[in-house]
Symmetry: C2
Subunit: 436 residues, 2 copies
């Protein structure tokens, strides 16, 4: 499909976040033009195929085009546990509610629930997920069938997976085209043996691939690691050479100065999950300090069981609002920086170098923000409006890899919301029935 957006305002997320007026052209799955429309003839000159035949021309009506959000830490299929067990202490929630239900998931369930979560991503303008879950081939199938971009990360731990599996996953999931990719990872230090962690570190070195894992989410986790290994999780991973090819941590709430220095020096990414960390009472990550140190920060929703929404607008607000509370200073973590985290910061963490900004040659992962809604007005500062006043309701369109998957509340993902909702409810009902 070749799609021309015209009469648009465009926030490319390059440079100083100025908003331009003009056109954006998509040819196949790539952006071929972004500009005021006065110099489009060069596209034709440079293109061996000549004139583009438009499949669709979209009058953007001065709404805003911007890069899609990147959900840089999630467990997509966990939508089935949304609001299943809230308001419980973390341990009880995990051990009595989450783990027993997860054990009952079939591969087919994960395929269905991943599609269900993808629907929710699209409704929030999220164009790529950094997903850690089981049954990775089913997740890739769901993503590719719906047209969604999914970067997966290994979830190996003492209760599931082998290092050999991870190597196979790495080869397979990176062979499926531009909508599927994979980096190495493991669940967390407290669930994974040293042997497995060393195996993942070796794979990382062999293939020169980054490693991500849950890290320093709770103070209890850090204290446990110190008891077991005499050092923090970050220092432990680094001592194994795990971070020699980049990567980073999910959560990173309880980071020492030394941990952050490792992140800075090894150019690692922090993926912050403010809603999940608040709802599970884990704490507030030291975002201000991370920014001051120049560490790349990305934003994730975590899974629907803990959050309970896959909503990047809520996360963006929380990143800055919680930092302001943590430091008791209204001036910290400028909203504009948060919008960068949710887009280019996420793309960087997820190795999606071609999905970060709106520019020729990049993949067409694009969101249209409805500027006519009252919460986007007046237009004193459009970037701040998005971060401080924005909502899922402002997402008018979500395009992934050149395809419009969501527009004006309707999905084009090959299956209806009614079917997916019905299937998701059937899965949890079956589990409740079977566990009686």
């Amino acid at each position: 499909m070749n799609i021309r957006f015209y009469n648009a305002r465009i926030l490319t997320m390059e440079g100083d976040l100025e908003i331009m007026e003009g056109e954006l052209w998509v040819k196949g799955n790539r952006i071929v033009y972004v500009g005021d429309g006065s110099d489009t003839d060069k596209i034709y000159r440079d293109d061996p195929e000549g004139m583009i035949i438009w499949d669709r021309e979209i009058d953007v009506k001065r709404n805003l085009l911007m890069p899609g959000f990147k959900d840089a830490h999630t467990h997509t299929a966990m939508t089935f546990l949304r609001s299943y067990a809230d308001d419980l202490p973390l341990d009880e929630w995990l051990n009595t509610q989450v783990f027993p239900k997860e054990a009952l998931l079939t591969p087919e369930d994960i395929y269905t629930l991943t599609k269900h979560g993808i629907m929710e991503y699209l409704s929030s303008g999220i164009t790529a997920g950094f997903d850690m879950y089981m049954q990775t081939s089913m997740i890739a199938k769901a993503a590719i069938e719906t047209g969604f971009r999914m970067v997966q990360v290994g979830s190996i731990n003492n209760f599931g997976g082998t290092v050999e599996d991870c190597e196979e996953e790495y080869k397979y999931l990176n062979s499926l085209g531009e909508l599927s990719s994979y980096v190495f990872g493991f669940h967390a230090e407290y669930t994974t043996s040293r042997e497995i962690m060393e195996g993942i570190a070796d794979l990382s070195k062999k293939y020169k691939v980054p490693v991500f894992t849950h890290s320093s989410e709770t103070s209890k986790e850090v204290e446990g690691c110190k008891k077991r290994y005499g050092m923090t999780p970050t220092k432990l991973f680094d001592s194994m050479g795990m971070y020699d090819n980049g990567g980073g941590g999910y959560h990173c709430v309880w980071m020492s100065d030394e941990d952050l220095e490792i992140f800075r020096d090894k150019k690692l990414s922090v993926v912050t999950n403010p809603a999940s960390n608040a709802k599970l009472a884990s704490g507030i990550a030291p975002i201000t300090k991370m920014m001051d140190m120049g560490i790349n920060i990305a934003i994730g929703t975590d899974g629907a069981a803990s959050n309970n929404a896959l909503d990047m607008f809520r996360e963006m607000y929380l990143v800055t609002a919680l930092a302001k509370l943590r430091e008791m200073d209204a001036a910290v973590v400028d909203g504009a920086e948060v919008l960068k985290m949710a887009t280019v910061g996420g793309a960087k963490a997820m190795c999606l170098d071609d999905c970060d900004v709106l520019a020729p040659g990049k993949y067409a992962d694009i969101v249209m923000i409805d500027m006519t809604q009252p919460n986007m007005q007046p237009e004193n500062n459009i970037v701040k409006n998005i971060v401080y006043a924005g909502s899922k309701s402002n997402v008018k369109m979500t395009m992934v890899n050149g395809r419009v998957l969501y527009e004006d509340g309707k999905y084009d993902i090959g299956i209806s919301p009614e079917e997916l909702n019905g299937q998701a409810n059937a899965i949890i009902q079956r589990m409740i029935r079977d566990s009686r």
Copy 2:
């Protein structure tokens, strides 16, 4: 208008928050029936006018009807300063940005901007606001013309208003029908002389009307009051007899145990404003303790200049998420309690006894929640889905006083979003031009 909702799921917010299936009938501006539809004949028997002629019958398609949200502390017209000056320390924000711009507002501006804010309320399922601002007659005019329910509170302080004005406002704003009402109030202790505060206390006693004010928003405010009067704001107000007829405080972040005991004993309401308190780095209110003491809690957005959205879904999430962080306990402030605060708690604080739940005889202030959207699925717990995963995008319809004012993204308030957006932008542009 007589409107029949059928094929509905209904959360009346009475009792234990069970969801019933059935019908809800609206005759004029009141609810006349809520039930499974098997006993509607008694309506006709009891009604001297006999059969109801339906102006409209709405198939709710098993979506959810629930009471409208009450925004129990707001400054509606401040939408013009949305994203005008973010990420600044509180003092600088107020003194160099907010106050100078507010001084330039005309009565006509406030009329226009109030309508603009009302649009935003409706899009978030808010059916009544507890508004503190200037030009109260223009605010009432905007509310009545759009069909929105506005409870106003006096904003008198050393820089504007007289006690006599407040008495006039009280009489006038309570004479305009069920969409306009007024209770006594003043801006805050730190902006208001003892003489004025005593005047308001006298009015409250004369008319037996509650008093509300900004209270204990920052620790600096409380410390200042202690220096000036030797006691906390709450104790000061109580010592003046201000709370003898009820009322309460907006914000209430920095409350001593003694303050909370006064709130409990005098049956006062706390109106919490979590987004504003976070964004301005004021702190986290002790919601858990307030709940334990049985104090009525309502939720407000505060104005768009500080929040920056008028979005009750974001507020609800923050009430519980921030409490969990404050206590470092994921089990505190159950989501179901938060939904009560946003509806019946607000109605109680705002003296809207007929707007709290869905029941015969109550005003028809109703929201329809779109249950087909992925964030409302699966239906493990619908109440928790609303609080923990809900978004403005789930608001399919907002009815105030029996009139559908918002439905499927469209407004029926006598003026278009385009016009109001244009006018709001023109106001701030004029101010910027004039202050050059």
